[in-house]
Structures are given as structure tokens and as C-alpha cells.
């Protein structure tokens, strides 16, 4: 019974994410209007057949911008999780498997990074590096390493005492081989699940930073940037903020459900 529920989550999550992915791909090849094309007469046009999601303060088509923004946000989050996740996994694997002085050094550095809220850490990086897409990805990636490192290290600590690892050692397998061929696959569900959660956090972090005006720069569209610009017109033209907002919710819901379904 319980298992079914989890699977339902997983399936629903996959469906939502698939739809999102389709929208991103659609936005990559086709948008009804240019995402940045301005059109004076359509300023603040309400949703209609002409503009499915309405138009913003420059008469830009919100549907087109949402497609583009979804791509931007998704891409930033994906790269962030990929870089942060890979680095984190590597650090976690090395420290968890070998332990010793390396473990001490890397994990203390990790502790220092963890001591800062990741959002604050990203803010600091951005104020040093300057705003922009590339810097945003870099800042978020670094902020995401500690959580991955911690989770992966825990898994490796657990598995390195297992009998099959010990016997692999006796067979003379190298440390690298044991880590990545023998242990990593067992840790994979946990890593994937944290990647899904990490992706959600990255989406939110990108949206928040862009909302604060230090992420994606105008006129580029990202979901957070769009909400930020639309917040001033929340009451007179709610569609400007609602649709990008709904997209963020769906994206997070989708990945949240997948990560739920993946657990155990």
C-alpha cells in the first residue's frame, strides 16, 4: 500500500517534469513571439488567445517569456546541481572511503561552508564576482557542494565496512575501483534523491537571487527575474507574476515528488 503511494508520487512527478521539459524544448525551438520583442499597444494586455498568458509592461508576450525563462532557470539549476553534485560526490566519496587526515581537512572546510546559510554564501560570492548568469551558477554550485559531500560521505562510511567491500579489497581492487564501481551504485538512490532536492533548492535560489536583482540581468527572462519585475504590477496586472510563479511551483512540485518516490 505504502509502496504504491510512493510510486504514484514518482509517476506524477515524472509526468509534471516531462511536461516542463517539453515546454523548455518547445521554447528552445519556437516561441509565439520573440521573448524580448516589445510591443507598445499590447502593454499589460490581459490573457487572451492573442497572448495566452497576457503581456507585461513592455507588451512582451508572457507565454514566450515563460518558455524562455523556464529554460534559463532550468539550465542554471541543472548546471548548478551537476557541478555541485559531482564535486560534492567526489569529496564525499574520498573522505568517506579513506577517512584520516584528508577527511579531517576536507570536512572541516565543509563545516565552514555549511556554517553559512547557502543563500548567504551565494550572496557573498555574487557581491564579489558581480551579477550575471555565469557568476550565479558558480556561486550556487559552491554553495551546494557541502550538502552533497555530507550525504555521500555518510553512505560511504556505511558501505566501506560491508563484507563485499572487504572481499573486493582482498581481491586487490584499487581504491578508485571500489569507490566508483562497488560502492557508488549502492549510494546512487540517495544521491539522486538529494540531486532532486538540490535541483529544487537551486530553482528557488536562482529565482530568489534574480528576484533580488543580482541574478539574471534584464532583458533576459528567468522565472525569478520575471516575478521581480512584475511585483510592482501585482494588483493591476497579476498575470505578469502569476504565470511564472505557477511554473516555479510546478517545477518544484514535480521534482519534489520524484525525490519522494526515489527514497528507498
Amino acid at each position: 500500500m505504502k509502496k504504491d503511494r510512493r510510486n504514484l508520487n514518482f509517476i506524477l512527478g515524472c509526468v509534471i517534469c516531462a511536461v516542463m521539459l517539453l515546454l523548455v524544448i518547445l521554447g528552445f525551438f519556437y516561441t509565439p513571439y520573440g521573448p524580448d520583442a516589445m510591443n507598445g499597444p499590447d502593454k499589460f494586455a490581459a490573457p487572451s488567445l492573442r497572448h495566452l498568458m497576457g503581456a507585461d509592461q513592455f507588451g512582451r508576450d508572457i507565454f514566450s517569456r515563460v518558455l524562455k525563462g523556464l529554460g534559463t532557470t532550468g539550465w542554471i539549476s541543472l548546471v548548478t546541481v551537476a557541478i555541485g553534485g559531482l564535486t560534492g560526490t567526489l569529496v564525499g566519496a574520498l573522505t568517506g572511503y579513506y577517512g584520516g587526515i584528508l577527511d579531517e581537512i576536507l570536512m572541516r572546510i565543509n563545516d565552514i561552508l555549511t556554517a553559512f546559510p547557502s543563500f548567504l554564501l551565494a550572496l557573498v560570492f555574487i557581491s564579489v564576482l558581480g551579477p550575471g548568469k555565469g557568476n550565479l551558477i558558480m556561486a550556487l554550485s559552491i554553495a551546494f557542494i557541502p550538502s552533497f559531500a555530507r550525504v555521500v560521505r555518510g553512505e560511504f562510511l556505511l558501505y566501506r565496512e560491508r563484507d563485499y567491500v572487504k572481499s573486493a579489497k582482498l581481491w586487490g581492487a584499487s581504491g578508485i575501483r571500489i569507490m566508483f564501481i562497488h560502492i557508488l551504485p549502492n549510494a546512487l538512490p540517495v544521491i539522486l534523491s538529494s540531486a532532486a532536492i538540490g535541483f529544487n533548492n537551486a530553482v528557488l535560489a536562482e529565482a530568489s537571487l534574480s528576484y533580488l536583482g543580482i541574478g539574471v540581468q534584464p532583458p533576459d527572462a528567468s522565472l525569478g527575474r520575471m516575478i521581480s519585475e512584475a511585483s510592482a504590477y501585482l494588483f493591476s496586472a497579476p498575470w505578469c507574476a502569476v504565470f511564472p510563479g505557477v511554473m516555479i511551483i510546478l517545477l518544484i512540485l514535480g521534482f519534489g515528488m520524484i525525490s519522494d518516490g526515489l527514497k528507498r
Binding site: D36, M38, G40, F44, Q57, G213, Q217, P219
Partner: protein
């Protein structure tokens, strides 16, 4: 921290000689204020019985980072606040006239070389001391001091002598100068007072109370003010550095007033706020750094002028409000303003492409527009410009930076490609707008250099004939337009939101907020 304060000092140093208010906006005026000022409204839109007392919170886009010293401030955003604290011998009124302030009377000799100011009786500084002739002489000499190179007020290099004569101050000029009175708005400060930067003291209707960096500046009513007292007891200027939060802050009640809104922001607020409309009195343009390729090429600059349509910008950001301009001069300057210049580059995409091809950029080029992140009208303008430039193949990207960084990187260090801002004038003369583009001027942040322009400027400041001077200034404006020194856009419409509890908002032809005229409406 160290680096930042160093930068700040450099910035201030770099710009201190020309008090230019450069902020997102500005204002300025005709010389003796006798000209009509089109587009400016001094009417008090909000009605209702004024009552004494109360307080208000005014949102401002930037902290007063440059200096609280009225002689050293450079940003328009600083001037608009300090206007309430400091006064000169004369000061501008809302119609653009120069009226007597610390001086009760002035005389200009027949030959235009001797100015005699009679001190007003009973004017007191905020520290309680009466204003004396010594204070006045000290203030003016401080601005005329040329030991550090250019004097704080460059026009003061024309001063031959300043002398006390009983209750009078007599200023003798080396050369007759018709613009000189406009520069007598220099703040009068107490003699040998060294804490202007932290605790400014002036003679205005409000006195300085406190400042929290990046948070607020508080001023309160000065009870011993010589003139018409302020209605409100206290005014807090609160820094709203993120343009996206302005509307929410107004609606949420954390600020009561905000000037220079976009039309979309104003539309969102019109039900709960009184929206007053005037002009900002500044030159908004896409300022180009002539030291950077390809902007050193006149053909490229002209192509950009042909690619841009200011009318469309105004339509997008202000529903068509604003005045299109074609050079560094705006309509409030009356006699100096050459209206026809705005038609020099009517949008013509083919022409723009031809010019780009001729300049060697048939496929356009990449460029960066740096915009201060606290000025929504400039951010919006930049976004429209990106689209317009795209039509001729110029690929522009926007980089938003903090106001502090703008002052240091762009304005002081000239480290940028292009920027959208508004430049105002610090005095009521054309010189205040045009002098900055002379070669080597500390305010010449676009690195414009044209020997013909420089020699015209020399002629203009050395002539005593007003009509001839106006003519030369007009030639200088025309030269700027012909050289396409910048992509001139507009003098922006100024939309001010004021909570309905208050009344008395008054527009000035300068970049100031006169808080002494604002009152709580009697319930």
C-alpha cells in the same frame, strides 16, 4: 571595507571640482529665471487645509554616499535632500527665479563686475549662531580656493576679491559675467566648521538629525528659520535601493512619498495615492565612452542615433510622457534650448546600417550598457534601447550595478562602454550642463574631446554680452548633436506619488525635493 572607502574617496576627489548632480535625474534652470518654464508645474495639486506638525517618510533611490558637505556633494540624489538643509545668498524658487535667501538684497553694478549682497537680519545657523559676514566670505572662499587645482565651483575662478563692508559682502569679478548670480546658490556654512561631512549645519528650514548608512537620513524642522517655516516636524528619507520594491513599500505604508516613478508604477498606485506630474529637468541619454572602441568612431555613434527612437522609449516607459531632446540641454533652460536638434536623427534603420557598414561594422557589434540598479526609468529605457539597437545588428547587454559602483567605476574611473543615466545641472546656467564636455574636465565621463567645442566654451565664458553668449552655447549644443556625442533621448516625465494624507507637493525646475511646503491635510 578599506577598499570601498578608498574608492569612495577617489570618487569624491575625482568629481569634487564640478558639482554636478548626476544622479538619475536632475533639474536645472534658466539663468535669471525670467523665462517661462514649459512643462514645469509649480501648482500644488493636492488640496486640503494644511495643518502644522506631523512627519513623513520619503523614499529615495540612493544613500548619500558622496558627501554631506554641500560644497562637495556630486550626486543629484544628495542635492535633493540637502536642499532642505542648506541655503545660499540666493536660492531658486519653484518658478525658476533666484530669490534672496541669506542675503536680503543684492545689487549688480552697471559694468557687471561688482556684486553687493546685503545680509538678512536674524538668519541663524542650525547650531544657533547668527550668520555673519565672515561666514559668508569663508563659504565662498572655500569654494573659490584653487590650491587643489580647479576650485570647487569653477565659475569662482573669475572672482577678483571678496570684501566685507559692514553688513554687506562685495564680490568683484575679473571679467563681467552674466551667469555669475546663478552660482551664488552656494551653501553658506559656519566659518571653520569641520564636521560638515558628518553633521552638516546650514540655514535652511530643516536641520540635520542623523544618518544610518544604507538606511535613512532624518531631518527635523528648524524652529528659528528666518523664512516661512516648514509644516512638518520631521522628515525621514528612507533608502529604497531596489527599484522593484518601491510600489510595495508605498502600498505597505513604509514610505509616504516617492518621486520619479515610471508610468506603470504610477498606474498601480493611482487609487491610493495622489500622483503629481512634472518633468525631471535632466538630460537622459545613452552616454557613450569615447575612449572605447567602437564609440570613438563618429559614424558608429551616428548610426546608433539613427537606430534609436526616443518616442518609442517614452511610449514604453511613460505612456508617451516626457520631452524628446537632441543635445545636452532641456526645455526648462528656455533661451538656451534648441528644440530643432531633436530632429537631427530621426529613426532610420537603413541609414543606420549604411553608417555601420561605412564604419567597418556591417554585422554590428557587441556592447554593454551599464545601468544603476536603483533607477527604474533608466533600467526600462535600457531594455527598450537593447531592442531598438538589435534591429541594426548591435547586440547590447545590460549590466545593472549598484549606485556606489556606478559613481566609482563609471563616473570617476570611466571604466564602462555605455550607460543610461540622466545628467542635471547644478546651477541655473547653460554652463552647468555644457562645461562638462570640455576636454579634460573632471565631469567629462564620456571622454568627449573636440578642440572646436573647447574654444567655443572659452569664448562663451569670457563674453559679457548675454545674447552672444546664448548664441555660442547654442552652437555648442549643435556641435554635440552633430558629433553624436551621446545618444540623446529625453527629459523624463516626473511622476510623484504622495500619500493622500499629505498635500503641498511642489515641483522645482531643479532636482530637489522641497519638504518645507509639504503638509498633513487637516482631517
Amino acid at each position: 571595507m578599506n577598499r570601498k572607502s578608498l574608492l569612495r574617496h577617489l570618487t569624491v576627489l575625482g568629481v569634487l571640482t564640478l558639482t554636478i548632480a548626476l544622479g538619475g535625474c536632475s533639474g536645472d534652470k534658466t539663468e535669471k529665471g525670467s523665462e517661462a518654464v514649459p512643462g514645469k508645474e509649480s501648482s500644488q495639486v493636492s488640496s486640503g487645509e494644511p495643518s502644522m506638525g506631523g512627519s513623513i517618510v520619503v523614499g529615495i533611490p540612493q544613500d548619500l554616499e558622496d558627501s554631506l558637505d554641500p560644497h562637495k556633494m556630486v550626486a543629484a540624489g544628495t542635492k535633493e535632500v540637502l536642499f532642505n538643509i542648506n541655503e545660499g545668498l540666493v536660492k531658486p524658487d519653484s518658478d525658476g527665479n533666484l530669490i534672496e535667501a541669506v542675503a536680503s538684497h543684492y545689487d549688480i553694478s552697471e559694468d557687471g563686475k561688482t556684486y553687493t549682497f546685503t545680509l538678512r537680519d536674524g538668519v541663524k545657523f542650525h547650531n544657533g549662531n547668527p550668520v555673519t559676514v565672515d561666514d559668508v566670505i569663508y563659504s565662498i572662499e572655500r569654494c573659490a580656493d584653487a590650491t587643489g587645482g580647479e576650485p570647487l565651483v569653477p565659475a569662482y575662478s573669475n572672482i577678483e576679491s571678496i570684501e566685507a563692508d559692514g553688513n554687506n559682502v562685495v564680490i568683484t569679478l575679473k571679467e563681467p559675467n552674466t551667469e555669475f548670480l546663478a552660482y551664488m546658490t552656494t551653501a553658506i556654512i559656519p566659518k571653520d566648521y569641520n564636521e560638515l561631512d558628518t553633521q552638516p549645519v546650514g540655514t535652511g528650514p530643516f536641520r540635520y538629525v542623523s544618518r544610518s548608512p544604507q538606511e535613512n537620513i532624518v531631518i527635523e524642522k528648524f524652529a528659528d528659520y528666518w523664512g516661512e517655516p516648514a509644516y512638518l516636524d520631521q522628515v525621514e528619507f528612507k533608502i529604497v535601493a531596489d527599484a522593484d520594491t518601491i510600489v510595495m513599500s508605498l502600498k505597505g505604508g513604509s514610505i509616504d512619498m516617492y518621486a520619479r516613478l515610471t508610468s506603470s508604477q504610477a498606474a498601480e498606485l493611482k487609487e491610493d495615492f495622489n500622483i503629481e506630474e512634472g518633468t525631471m529637468n535632466l538630460v537622459q541619454a545613452l552616454y557613450l565612452n569615447h575612449a572605447e572602441a567602437p564609440f570613438d568612431n563618429k559614424l558608429v555613434r551616428q548610426a546608433m542615433c539613427y537606430a534609436v527612437n526616443p518616442q518609442e522609449v517614452m511610449m514604453m516607459i511613460a505612456d508617451g510622457k516626457g520631452t524628446e531632446i537632441g543635445s545636452s540641454m532641456f526645455p526648462a533652460f528656455g533661451k538656451y534650448y534648441v528644440e530643432d536638434l531633436k530632429d537631427m536623427y530621426t529613426q532610420d534603420l537603413n541609414k543606420a546600417k549604411e553608417l555601420l557598414t561605412e564604419a567597418g561594422y556591417p554585422d554590428g557589434f557587441d556592447m554593454t550598457i551599464t545601468v544603476p540598479s536603483n533607477y527604474q526609468p533608466h533600467i526600462d529605457t535600457a531594455q527598450v534601447l537593447v531592442e531598438q539597437l538589435k534591429q541594426v545588428g548591435i547586440r547590447a547587454t545590460i549590466q545593472m550595478i549598484e549606485w556606489d559602483s556606478w559613481l566609482s567605476d563609471v563616473y570617476a574611473d570611466h571604466n564602462y562602454q555605455s550607460t543610461v543615466v540622466g545628467v542635471d545641472a547644478s546651477a541655473l546656467t547653460a554652463r552647468a550642463l555644457l562645461e562638462r564636455f570640455t576636454t579634460g574636465n573632471s565631469g567629462n565621463f564620456i571622454n568627449y574631446s573636440n578642440p572646436e567645442y573647447d574654444s567655443l566654451f572659452q569664448q562663451a565664458v569670457s563674453t559679457a554680452d548675454d545674447a552672444k553668449q546664448v548664441e555660442i552655447y547654442k552652437q555648442m549644443e549643435t556641435l554635440l548633436a552633430e558629433d553624436a556625442a551621446n545618444v540623446y533621448i529625453q527629459d523624463l516625465a516626473d511622476l510623484v506619488a504622495l500619500n493622500k494624507k499629505y498635500g503641498g507637493y511642489t515641483f522645482y525646475p531643479l532636482y530637489v525635493q522641497d519638504m518645507s511646503k509639504i503638509y498633513l491635510v487637516k482631517q
